[in-house]
């Protein structure tokens, strides 16, 4: 992440112009030695392997912690795996049975649609809110900036389950401070209102929780990005008579476009796979109406102990997420070709 927009500084406002430091960046990125003047060939070959050697621990950890569970998950998704098979240690293959069951189930498609809508709403709110706070950080004086940064870091550092518990208390029917406050300011029907008994009100609380938890990431990163934009550029824009809105759209946004692109897509991933907050807040209730795909996979897989079904749902979740991410990958690969 950080590396990406550090690059943009040197790149300047026009991305079409190849920055002079690109070669240096490539050197860092992995093909060390390729851009260097000739050297004795023996040490050159050794130098060529060093980057791969350095990558090895990360790759090994990824293979162990992500690759192995993923392969196991894939295998399980083609099995009938219920408590009987689990306890008896038997393997029962059922081909694409789990997949066809899901793909023909209206419950799955409802949940998928709900997940996508939930993700879009949250990502838009996070990006807009986070950008505004980031811009604010850039304008604030030293003390206020420190205060706001501390607040953001605390929100970011809060463990999910703890945050969820706090939100449960805030929105508690009888003892919650939110209902108390709404009642106190005159909205009396909110006294004893059960936020978790309706789909939309439950989603509203979940959204608030997820957005609140993710704003600091966007805000602090944007602020970090903005500090790399030299003050003269803003001054020049102001001299040319650009207002705040125009300065943002025509100066800041194009310069930090890679930041916005990668952050948006990271947020899509994070919101789409948000499990802890959604499940811990109300277990996908009421009546399963706030189940998103990861919660659905968990409820079917662990709650109902259909481990094969749960595995298939989680594989389908990856496919859907990959589809959502395809635009990002296209952009990345296109830029790769251009170089």
């Amino acid at each position: 992440m950080a590396a990406q927009y550090r690059g943009t500084k040197t790149r300047g406002p026009d991305p079409a112009v190849t920055p002079p430091t690109a070669a240096a960046a490539l050197t860092v990125a992995g093909s060390a030695g390729s851009g260097r003047p000739a050297r004795p060939s023996g040490s050159g070959r050794a130098a060529r392997f060093v980057p791969y050697l350095l990558l090895l621990p990360t790759l090994a950890a990824t293979a162990l912690l992500l690759g192995y569970p993923l392969v196991r998950n894939l295998l399980i998704s083609f099995q009938t795996l219920e408590p009987f098979q689990l306890i008896q240690h038997t393997t029962e293959w059922n081909g694409f049975g789990n997949y066809t069951d899901q793909l023909t189930s209206s419950e799955f498609w409802h949940t998928a649609g709900r997940s996508v809508a939930f993700t879009l709403v949250n990502v838009v709110l996070i990006m807009v809110g986070g950008s505004l706070i980031g811009l604010l950080l850039n304008r604030l004086g030293k003390k206020m900036r420190l205060l706001l940064s501390i607040g953001l870091v605390f929100a970011w550092a809060m463990p999910y389950v703890a945050a969820t518990t706090v939100y449960q208390w805030l929105f508690d029917t009888q003892n919650g401070v939110v209902n108390w406050g709404l009642n106190a300011v005159g909205w009396h029907s909110m006294h004893d209102y059960n936020w978790f008994s309706h789909q939309l009100s439950t989603f509203a609380v979940i959204t608030l929780l997820v957005v609140w938890g993710s704003l600091p990431f966007v805000a602090l990163n944007l602020f970090a990005g903005l500090t790399t934009v030299s003050a003269e550029i803003f001054e020049a824009a102001r001299m040319d008579g650009a207002g705040a809105w125009r300065t943002f759209w025509q100066v800041v946004f194009p310069m930090l476009k890679p930041f916005f692109l990668s952050t948006t897509f990271l947020e899509i991933i994070w919101v789409f796979k948000a499990f802890t907050q959604v499940y811990a807040l109300n277990a996908g209730g009421p009546e399963g109406l706030t189940e998103t795909l990861p919660v659905y996979a968990y409820v079917e897989g662990f709650g109902n102990q259909h481990f094969g079904t749960g595995a298939a749902i989680s594989m389908l979740t990856i496919v859907i997420l990959a589809a959502l991410m395809s635009y990002y990958f296209r952009v990345i690969l296109k830029e790769e070709d251009e170089l």
Binding site: L26, S197, G288
Partner: protein, 425 residues
């Protein structure tokens, strides 16, 4: 730029992390691990083992079998099925486990429980109460042994009732509602505390209305909540819930209703003996203030039917200490310890002859009498799936009706989900 490609791969890696949610069976059975030979692990459920009984049976076992040890681990009911499945699939499962009577067929069908036919005579099978031992038999095999039964009764705060001018406990449901009205009129916010998802309590009312949660349809079972009887039972439940501020979308353990009662400002709740005892431990000032009476029926001649909750003890199929496990089972099934459990825990023992132990235990006396009119959920393996969280009976039906849906509309939703689960093998 290659670093972007690397970034993209990293992003792809994060996406794959999503799959970890639905992954393999997991292994969080921390408490397992019978020490190949000398220590046996016994899993008991929260509320089952009273403190003195636990101390005495551990001491007795370790004295009778020198060098051997018992490790008793108490498990919460919430999420127990997932935990038990995982534990039974491990190479060193707990040796002895307590299994709820309604969940026993489910585990029997997974093959995780050891058949005890050759030892059942030594365990006292000839004297077991038939109503209790039924749930411990599966496919003609003795898969577990009946440990105890218990039925819910009304646990009330004598002081609050006396302050409302009530001198005798109600004998009919009409009298009960009249009394609760008086208590509420006195300013007690929770004349009756009944959270919306105590489905065992609901099942009692349903049995009393003359229906069951499921009906037999040829060889299979079908959900049966969309009936006038279920509507009658849930309306009665709703009325009881309205005499307090208990949440409509939580069960009796969130928060523990005995903790709520312990605060001393709750008129009554439907509970088990250990809950009354728990309230007293939490608030010793309630001494001599806690009373018990059976849930009254529609008429004074008969108390309401109740859900006969209970537990069996079983030995895991994969136990590494079959001998130690059986020895523990024999001890727990002995008249001495079965009697001690009834006496201290106030639960119905597995032999009629041991009922004398209940003398002096107010809950036990009331509960054992009520148990005569008790029933259970159908003892079929598919039933275990219905109880898996989120339980459609509570989340779809009970909470649905309590939050304003018509019984029939909520029942239809719950029935669809129950049928789905009942048809899964």
């Amino acid at each position: 730029m290659k670093r972007k490609l690397i970034g993209a791969i990293g992003v792809a890696g994060m996406m794959i992390g999503v799959a970890a949610c639905g992954g393999s069976g997991g292994s969080d059975g921390k408490a397992s691990g019978g020490d190949a030979g000398n220590t046996i692990t016994v899993w008991l459920m929260s509320g089952s083992n009273p403190p003195n009984w636990t101390k005495q049976i551990t001491a007795a076992y370790e004295k009778k079998y020198p060098g051997k040890k018992v490790k008793i681990a108490v498990q919460p009911w919430d999420g127990i099925q997932q935990k038990l499945t995982t534990a039974l699939s491990e190479s060193t499962p707990p040796d002895v486990i307590e299994v709820g009577n309604t969940q026993t067929p489910y585990y029997a069908q997974t093959g995780g429980l050891k058949a005890l036919d050759s030892d059942k005579a030594a365990l006292g099978a000839s004297d077991w109460l038939p109503a209790m031992s039924k749930s411990a038999v599966f496919d003609g095999k003795q898969i577990a042994v009946p440990w105890y039964a218990a039925s819910r009764v009304v646990i009330y705060n004598k002081k609050i009732w006396a302050d409302a001018g009530i001198t005798a406990t109600p004998k009919t449901q009409d009298e009960l509602f009249k009394d609760l009205g008086k208590i509420k009129a006195k300013g007690t916010k929770d004349a009756f505390y009944l959270p919306g998802q105590d489905w065992y309590a609901f099942d009692g009312l349903l049995l009393d209305a003359g229906a069951d949660l499921v009906k037999k349809d040829g060889d299979t079972y079908k959900a049966n909540l969309d009936t006038p009887q279920a509507a009658q039972a849930i309306n009665l439940y709703k009325k009881l819930n309205s005499f307090g501020t208990a949440p409509k979308d939580k069960d009796e353990a969130t928060p523990q209703q005995s903790d709520v009662f312990a605060k001393g400002d709750v008129g009554a709740f439907l509970g088990l003996g250990w809950e009354g005892a728990g309230a007293l431990t939490k608030n010793p000032k309630l001494k001599d203030q806690i009373g018990y009476f059976p849930m009254p029926g529609k008429t004074a001649d008969k108390t309401a039917a109740v859900f006969l909750g209970g537990s069996n003890l079983a030995i895991s199929q994969g136990t590494k200490n079959p001998k130690g496990a059986l020895n523990f089972l024999k001890l727990a099934m002995s008249d001495q310890f079965e009697g001690a459990l009834a006496k201290e825990g106030g639960v119905v023992p597995n032999k009629a002859a041991l009922n004398t132990n209940l003398q002096g235990n107010e809950f036990g006396t009331v509960s054992a009498a009520a148990a005569a009119n008790g029933g259970t959920t159908p003892l079929i393996p598919e039933w275990g799936s219905v109880e898996n969280a989120p339980n459609p009976i509570t989340t779809l039906f009970m909470t649905g009706v309590l939050q304003g849906q018509s019984p029939s509309a909520a029942a239809q939703k719950a029935d669809v989900e129950m049928d789905k689960r009942l048809s899964q093998k």
